[in-house]
Assembly symmetry: C2
Homo-oligomer: 355 residues x 2
């Protein structure tokens, strides 16, 4: 069968031939429909992140998949069920995090991530997965099922943010996304259409006309140009934010977020910037966290419950939004186009098959 | 009546004469027993923090009080009830934070703090307070009632820390207090005797023999000398901490805390350091927060519920601990001694009267 794989350091994915996998006990054979491409895939391709399975020279890409059950193999799933796989798998035998259904909380070394680190991804005509790592999706959402994984990331981040504010009465009236990539725009749409945030904002650094700024406008949110208004000046220029969701990977944003928050606000960090030394007014940040009861949380990955929540969320997002967000779905003959970047590209996927 | 007050910038408290206050409707007249002294009092005395009531040239000190009801004034309290007052009061009429019982979440400008900012404190023979700002205390705890306010600060901080970790299964097995002042030692005692933390640590910068290090040892905790082991090196030298409680006001600790935490850990910040610029590896801190689901929370002040929790906590602390912690209780004739500092001083109080 065809698969899209990358050799560490090669800088671009290639089409390879792999044997069709056989499901083990408890595993299901899934026929792949679509697999999304995101920033992590680009990092893996560039060689800055991820690694192939032990002993392999190539990694099959893809962690944002949707497929259809081909062989239920004695599990509770049925032929034709539309399913989305979770991403983390136990590395060498199970561990406590996987056993309690919270692989997203496992520390480094205690998980593989399919398509990212230590395990092949889903960019192949078929893949196998334990049935309990597959979340069922209504058939009418199958075309957009590759958005479930990124939405699940925000489901987790927002769950942790709300939990951190649960010891007191907290209302989410103003919220800002840092970053106008596909994850940022998905989260902004969640603010508007699921959480019904009164006033939502999205920070970017693009000139109009721009397709992402058009989406921000159409969602009814306010576009904030970071070249004019840095995050720490947002309270003066607009208002302090009850919640800031960082999806830029720009490390200074993590610290500016503290100043950008309203009293009792929470900043959730999603980026993975790597080492970078710079000067901060650490005393001021420390004091501001304390005197205004602010919180800064990092979150990564997501568990099955977040995937389930994401299916509810996806059903609530308006059709025009997902139409505008998904700028390209490419079949295997033109899979390279799914990995192209540029200001006109927001979200892409590779299509392996149709329902 | 006698009161202990400070003139902004004078650098030391003085004994002054004030008329005995008359309780308004809903207020109670309280005869003061003891009032504790803490770091905030020293900051107020030094002129770095706080301000007298509008139009006044002096501020009566003291926010850690215990007293006995002298005139219930038609409230539900009774003559002879032992009570501890909360600290924040509405500044000019009430506001939403006070109305919902969460004055600790009010932003700057929306509260006065008795003995600190905008309102006289409790260091006088009598004080008045709304009955709903008084928390009853068992008579046998009256002598130590001035510890309720500082304990309540940690009750709040720990409540927020636990809330922030409530979206997943989290066990508090290792915890470290940064700072061996009285608040730090009280919190360390809570780790050992209330939360039953498996392994607790306290960071300081004192040579043995030292009375605070003796208390750390006697609590069964591990003393960590920050001159040998900075906070960010704690995981290598000891273990990553599930919880770090910062009570030093040293801004670099806020950032080092992220590295000092175990995966999924939470740092709670209590210090108010003021502006101080320094270099950090911001990319590394950002990434570490994200990849290991860490949280950093600031918290300040406490509400009535935290005072009530603190009365339960105080009852659970061993007698030897409070005996060693309270290094001096001084009557009005020698009140100056309660404000002296030094390596032999841990916690002091002024005694205005006895039960």
């Amino acid at each position: 069968m065809k698969a899209i794989a990358v050799e560490p350091g090669a800088g671009e994915p290639t089409l390879i031939e792999r044997p069709r996998p056989e499901p083990d006990d408890g595993e299901v054979l899934v026929r792949t429909l679509r697999v999304g491409v995101d920033g992590t895939d680009h990092e893996v391709i560039a060689g800055g992140h991820g690694e192939p399975p032990a002993g392999a020279d190539r990694l099959v890409l893809g962690h944002e998949a949707v497929g259809v059950v081909e062989e239920p193999n004695g599990t509770d799933l049925a032929v034709g069920d539309v399913v989305v796989p979770t991403v983390r798998r136990p590395p060498n035998g199970t561990n406590a995090y996987f056993e309690r259904g919270e692989p997203d909380m496992a520390p480094e070394g205690q998980y593989h991530e399919r398509g990212i680190v230590g395990a092949d991804g889903f960019m192949s005509k078929y893949f196998t997965s334990p049935a309990d790592c597959l979340v069922s999706l209504p058939r009418e959402l199958a075309d957009l099922g590759f958005l479930i994984e990124p939405i699940s990331i925000s489901e987790k981040a927002l769950e942790h943010a709300f939990a951190s504010r649960s010891a007191f009465e907290w209302e989410l009236e103003s919220a800002m996304v840092l970053g106008n990539g596909s994850l940022g725009l998905l989260t902004l749409a969640m603010f508007e259409h699921v959480l019904a945030v009164d006033r939502s904002y999205c920070l970017g650094r693009r000139d109009r006309p721009d397709p992402t700024v058009d989406i921000i406008d159409d969602l009814g949110a306010t576009y904030v140009d970071s070249r004019e208004t840095p995050v720490d000046e947002v309270p003066d220029a607009y208002e302090g934010m009850d919640l800031i969701y960082e999806a830029t990977g720009y490390a200074k944003h993590a610290f500016q977020t503290v100043e950008g928050l309203a009293p009792n606000g929470v900043g959730v960090l999603l980026g993975v910037p790597g080492s970078w030394e710079f000067e901060v007014d650490g005393g001021r940040i420390h004091e501001e966290l304390v005197l205004h009861n602010k919180a800064l949380l990092g979150t990564v990955n997501s568990h099955r419950g977040h995937f389930e929540a994401a299916t509810e969320t996806l059903a609530q997002l308006p059709e025009w939004f997902t139409d505008d967000l998904v700028t390209g779905v490419y079949d295997l003959a033109s899979y390279e186009r799914a990995f192209e970047t540029g200001d006109e590209v927001i979200k892409t996927a590779v299509e392996f098959d149709t329902l």
